[in-house]
Structures are given as structure tokens and as C-alpha cells.
Amino acid sequence: MSFFGFDPTRPNPVGAGFSQARDPFAGLSGHGDDGDALDFEDTYDGLGDQLDETDDAFNDDTFGNTGGSAAAAAPVGKDFDFFGQTAKVANAIEEEHVRFNRQAPVARAVQPAAQPTSSAAHIHAPPAATSSYNYAPQPSYKPARTGYEKYSQEPVGELQVDAALWGVAPKKHAPVPPPQTHSPATVPAGRKIMSLEEVEAQMRAQARRPAEPAAPSPVSQQQVQQPQVHYDQGYQFQQPTQPQAPAHANDQQYHPGHGQPVTILQRPQSKHAAQAPSHPAHIPAQHNAHQRPQPSAPVQPTHILQNPSRLSGDAARLGAHSDPTPPAGYPTHPNHRQQGSLSRQQQQQQQQQQLVTHPSQLSQLSEEEKAAYMDQEAKRAKRNHKIFLMSRDNGIMTPQDKNFVTRIQLQQLVAATGNPNDHGTDESLVEDFYYQVHNQIQGGHRQHPSQPLNNFAQTYLFQTGSRHGGLRRHHRGPENHMQRMEQQVQRAVEAAKNKPKNKQLVIEGSLGKISFSNAKTPKPLLNIKRNDTAGETARPSSAHKNIHTTSGRDKKSELRSIEQVYSTLMKMEDHDRMMPPPPTGEADTHAIEKVVEWNTTAQALNKKLWTALRVHDHPQPGGIHPFIALLSYTKGKKAMERIFRHATVEQRTIILTLIVVNLDELDVVRGAQVATGDIQLNAAMRENVELFSVAVMSTLFNFMNELDLDLVAGVLGLVCSRNIDVIAKSRIGASMLTMILSRAEIIKHSSGRTSQSWQSWDAAYTQLFNLLEPSLPYIFPGTVSSGDDMYVWQLLAAIGIGASPDQQQRLVLAVKDRVMDTVNLAKTLPHDLSAQRLQNVNLFMRSIGLDVELLQ
């Protein structure tokens, strides 16, 4: 290949010797000595003359019996196995590095003598390209101790003389007359000349090789000092290629002798090529390039092709080189064996240790590395084989099949884990209702604590007491309820104690009733009696007719009704969750439509619920009211609170009325009559009573606290129409009475009296008292010592507050025995128990203006 019109076949007379290893045998390729370059004799150090060129007798001893083309397989000594040795002492490499730096000046000093030889050495490359290297067997020229002995251990291919010698050298070295001292026979042998293909391959390998460290020139120059060591010189040729990376990656270290060709080769990727001419050492190098022999021609394209895949010289130097796809069929890697200088070799080895881009480099690795590499190779091969095996089944499934399988898998996955995206949505609630709501109630896993609980959670969370199973359900709920009731009674008692006398005196002292008016309840000018209660009272009369038999009840339909109630409730709760936001304005017709639609559905559901409750059903002759029958079931009782939440105020009132009207027909009233001395109800009934107290009474209690006096009086009137004796003798009945009476007292103290409603209240109260009085001694459960009578004292207190002095007296007379018994018993009890008993009694005593202290 010719650059700038120079004859590439001619050795470069100027550039020779600069850092390039000389090839003393180059001239044998057929190129004559031009004579216009350096005179070989001028620069030749004469060392070669000391050789006995004719004495080949011991070549076999020295080099082993290898020869000719078979030389490729010839094992050589390992004396020069610097790499192999240094690899074993990797730790020492750094030291060697330093040592190299120190040796470098020394090497440079030797350079002048070496140069002529090197220039002479460069003529041989063209022959390589023309495959004219049919050299004699190597043994003929091998030195006694070349240092290559160690390489005999390496794979055969690795033992070949590096083809790069010829591949690169021609480009860079001036034609120097071949050293005359070398016999023709030794020259070819020393070369181990390769075929053109090999040369090319080696060029490629070089191109891929990691760049050499900087400052190669001293090294290369140093290499030439011993011309008689042909092998040495031979492999020095490879050096010119080494600096190529620095040459383009680092201008400062551009190598004068041989950098140029490399630069040219790498121009496609390197901008340094343009800068190269400015380098002081550049001119001779360029010169060399011009005279580059033809073999470089095939090389160049290769370089160009490979450049893109190369890392920069710097990166490569750092060991970052990792070319994944080295071209197949590389010949041996040229570099390492041919180092003339030990330190340089080490450097190179150091690099190559890190880079295994090609099997050929294997030989340069230590045993362990080799093993590791082979291991990796094996793995990769195994994987490839596996892939190959599997690829036989490619295409068996159509994309549709795959989609189908994927769908099934996803379905299972979603079913198993629940889609995190649809937590709280209807789908997940349908499938995973318990878990979702439970989690929301427990709050443990709430993802957005700031968000309010959804309706479901609220539904179950606010079922007071009922969601705590087991013991807690039986204790906490009623306790809570009873406490509140007690508090209410106590408040009424306190209020009655504080004010009453004054008021009464005023009232009694005056000739007429003095009604106070205040802002809250102004004195009514018109007092129209409301008929609310009248309508309610009409219904009980129909219920009255029922004889209390359970025989006529249709259990199945009742249970079905309850289930209907529940399913409707659940639908309503579902529906509540979908309540549309209120319309923003008149214009928002869509929103208004939605609201209207929602309301329609809600009303329909409400109606359905109401129907399912069978409130308006007529009881069968001889049976109890269907609604009361529903309440006899546990789940019927439990539904009450939820029903109240979804019922209108009117509906709630009706339910309350209905319950009160049928109070003496409730199973928890009729079946739980107290009998002195035998208070032990059966367990089922006790549980029923508890449940009713928790589920129904507390609901009614809450509702009743919103009622005004008229309704309370009406309710009381209803109670009076029933069998008071039965009612009062049951815990539920007594609690109901307490509830009603205490509510009235609260209203009384908070709002003062309004004549009309109080008249009706007083009438109802008086009626109740009259009815109740005979039963009073018998409403206590069990004996005095059983101590389960707190609710009775509450009732008595509630009665006592509203009682007139006369009634109070009668009240005291009626329960005097019980009071005295309890007080006496309290004296024998431990302090805390007795205090509790006395407190119960005192609740009643204070309501009538007395105190147990007076009795002790």
C-alpha cells in the first residue's frame, strides 16, 4: 500500500530504528539495500558478528526439534515466559512497574547502537504479504537461553512467533539493508514466517489488543541492543503496534517511529490522527508510513472496521477492555512473548491479565485464570446448548395460547393476593368482604389514615358492644348502657334535689298554676293537643287482641323476613357508599339527576326494608305482632341498630311505639319474670336479655333522648295500657320504665313546665304509679343478698323524682322492707360491697329527699 506516492515496498531509511524493532532478516525478502538510508554498518553494533552463523549443530538443543511449517506446533522453552511467571506473582507486578520506570533511561542509553539494526530489520514485511516466507526450521537459530523455554507449556498455537512482526513492521520501518551477518538460513527460521492470512489475523488481534502504556519508545529502542538474538529482534517488531493506542489516545506519548501507521489506521475513530503531524517525532514516522509495504493494505480495513468496537487507548490501558465478540479464528496473540524488555513485558502481561477477549489470550493467563476462563466458557457453552435445545420448541404455542395462559395465571394471582389497586372497590368487596372491612375497622393496615372509614367499616364499628365477641360483648355493652342510664337517673335526682322545694312551694302557695316561660319554651298562648299519641294508641288495641301464644307463629317466614331485612340493609349500605356528591348548582343537571336517582333508589330500599320488618302486618289471631316476633330472634335484635340508622324519624317512632305497646309480650319480658327467691333465669334467656339490652334498649335509649315530652308522655301512656305488673317484674321492662321516666325528668329540668304537655304527662304518671304500686314490693329480683337489683333502684329513683309527696310516701311504704333489709345487709358486707349496695339504695332515697344515712 502506498501513501503519498512512496514506494511502500521500500524500507524507510529515515524512520528506521526509532523505537521499531529491527528485523535483520527483512532484507532477505528480496528487497535490496537502497543505500540511501542509514548504513547498516554505521549503526550496527556488531554483536551479530559474534555469532557463529554456521554453527547450527546445537540448534536443536537450543530450540528443540521443531521446524518449518511444523514450527507452529513446536514447543519452545519457557525461559521467556515472563507473563506466566509474573502472572503468578501478580502482587509483584506493581514493583516491577516501578522498576521498569527506573530501567527505562538505561534502555534509552542503549538505543543508538540498536537503531541501525532496527532499521535493517524492517524490510522483511512485504515478503510476509507475499507469502514468501518459507523459512527454515527454527531450531537453527534459537539461542541457548532465549527465555522462551517456558512457552513450551503453552498451547501450540501460542508458541508461534508472533505474526505481528511482519504485519506491522513493514509499515513502519525504513528499508535497511539486511544485516549481512545473518545467514539466509537463519533468517527465515528466526521468523517463523506466517501466511498472509495469519498475518492479517494477527493484525486484527493487534488492533483489538489493549493499548500499550505510554512512553514505549525507550523500551523499543532498548530492545535492539542485541542483534544477534534474532528471536529477540523478531518479536520486537511487534512493538510498533503496541504504542498505537497511546498514539491516538494520548498525543503526548506519540511514538515517533511507528506511531504514524497506527494513526492512519485508526483515523476513522481517532481525532488524534490529525494532531499527529505536529508531533516532533512525526516526520520520520510519516516517512515510514509512506514506505509501508503492501501487507498493511489488508490490515488497514480491518483496523477501520474494528476501531468502532475498540475502546480508547486509555480505557483499554486501565483494563476496561472488554470486547465481547472477538473475531473468530485469531492467530495467536502477538504481544507478550516478544517483549525484549522484561519490564515492558510485565506491563503488557499486566494488561492482558485483565483482558481475555479471545481464546488466544488464554495462554497468557495463569493457571487459575485459565481455569476460571475455561469455566466461564463452559458455562456459556452450556447455556448456548440449552438455548439451542429449547429453541427446538419455538413456535409451538401461538401468541393466542400464550395470552390465554397468561390470563389464567394473572387471574389466579389476583384471586390469591387481591389486586392492590382495587382495595375497597366493589370487586374486592364482593370477593373479600370480611377481610377488607375487618382491616378497615382494625385500622392496622389502613393505607390512608386520613381518609374516613368507608360506610361498611362505620356500620360495624359503631355497633356498640356487639362487635366485641365473647365476654366483652356481655359486659361492656350493658355496662355502658346501664351506666348511662344510671347517670341519667342520677342527673335527674340531683336536679330534683336542688330545685324542687322552691318550685313546689311557689306552686303550692299560689292559687293557680304559675307557668314559667323562658326563651326556650315560651309560654304558649295556644295549646293545641297533638294527636300523635292518639294514633299510636289506636294500633295497640289491635295488637291487644293477640293471645300470647307462639304456636301460631310461622318461624320460617319470620327467619326469612329477618334475612330479607339484612340483605336490604346491606344493599342500603352499599347504596350509601354510592351517594353522589350534592349538585354544585342549578346548572349541574347531571349531578341533580344523579342525586334524584339515588334518592329514588334509597326510598325504594327503605320501603323494602320497612316491608320486611312487617311493622304494618297484622298479627295472626292468637299470635303476637310479627315485628315483635322478629325481635325474639337474636339476629332480629341485632339488626335494630342498623335499622334505626336507615329508618326515618317517623319510622323510628313507630318502631319505638310498637315495642312499647308490646312490651309485655316481648319474650325478654314475659320469659324473664322475676320471682322472689328464684332469680336464676336459664342461660339462654339471660343471654337474650343481655342482648336485648345491648342491641335494642340502647338504640331506643338513644332515640328516646331525642324525643320531646309529648311523645314521652304518649309512650308512658301506652305502657300504662299494658300489663304493668309483668313489665315491671322484668329487667327489660323496668329499664324501659326507667328510661321513660328519667327522660321526662330531664326534659322537666331542662325546659321547665308547659302546662298542657305536663298535664298529660302527670296524668300518665299518676296512672302508672297507681298501676305499679301493688307490684312494687315484688319487682326486686331474688333475695336481698343476691344483689342484682340495681336496675330496680334506678326505677324507684326515677319514679320517686316525679312523685308527689303523697306518692313518695306510698313509694317508701311499698319498698320500705327492701330498703331496710338492704341497709342491714350492707352492715354485714365488706366495705366496698356494702358501699355499692347503699349507693344503689341511696339513689332511690335521695330521689325522695332522704338518705340512707338517716336509717343507720
Partner: protein
């Protein structure tokens, strides 16, 4: 899915699993899946003398099909909610059957 849904709420609660071979294992419920396979940790066998080979076992994975009973911690069961969940499940099943 009701049972799966239910057992998920019992995770980290102590349960006693009675197997069809009469072994009763008490432990902390760690995981349950749609087959009601159960993973228990910190287990102890109720009749340890009878099944000494399990005394060294600290956690178990029980295939759902070999479970006869699971004894639940009553306090961890929300009965009204469970009742409603059951109703919903029944409604779902009825809906699917149609």
C-alpha cells in the same frame, strides 16, 4: 373466598390447627392462601408427649386439605361482620349459580 378472606384477618394471631391425623398444632398464623394452606410459626404441639418428633419443629406449612379444624381466637373474630360477609358470600354464590 370467604374462608380465605376470613383467615387473612387472623394473620399474626395464635390459632390451633387440628389435622386430620389428630395432631393439634398451636402457633402464630403467618400466612394463608386460597387453598387454605397454612403457615404457622412458633408452633407447639398440643400433645407433645404423643408426638415427640414435632418437638423440635419451629414452623410448619400445612396443606389445606389435611386440616380438620382451626380453633380461632374468639376475640379476633368480628361476628356481626362475619355474619354479613357470610350473607354476601351466599348471595354471590346464588348469583353465580343462576
Amino acid at each position: 373466598m370467604l374462608f380465605f378472606s376470613f383467615f387473612k384477618t387472623l394473620i399474626d394471631q395464635e390459632v390451633t390447627v387440628e389435622l386430620k391425623n389428630d395432631i393439634q398444632i398451636r402457633g402464630i398464623l403467618k400466612s394463608v392462601d386460597q387453598y387454605l394452606n397454612i403457615k404457622l410459626e412458633d408452633i407447639s404441639v398440643v400433645e407433645e408427649l404423643k408426638y415427640p418428633h414435632l418437638s423440635a419443629v419451629k414452623n410448619v406449612f400445612i396443606r389445606g386439605s389435611v386440616v380438620r379444624y382451626v380453633h380461632l381466637p374468639a376475640g379476633a373474630v368480628d361476628i356481626p361482620l362475619l355474619e354479613d360477609a357470610t350473607r354476601r358470600e351466599a348471595a354471590n354464590q346464588a348469583g353465580k349459580a343462576k
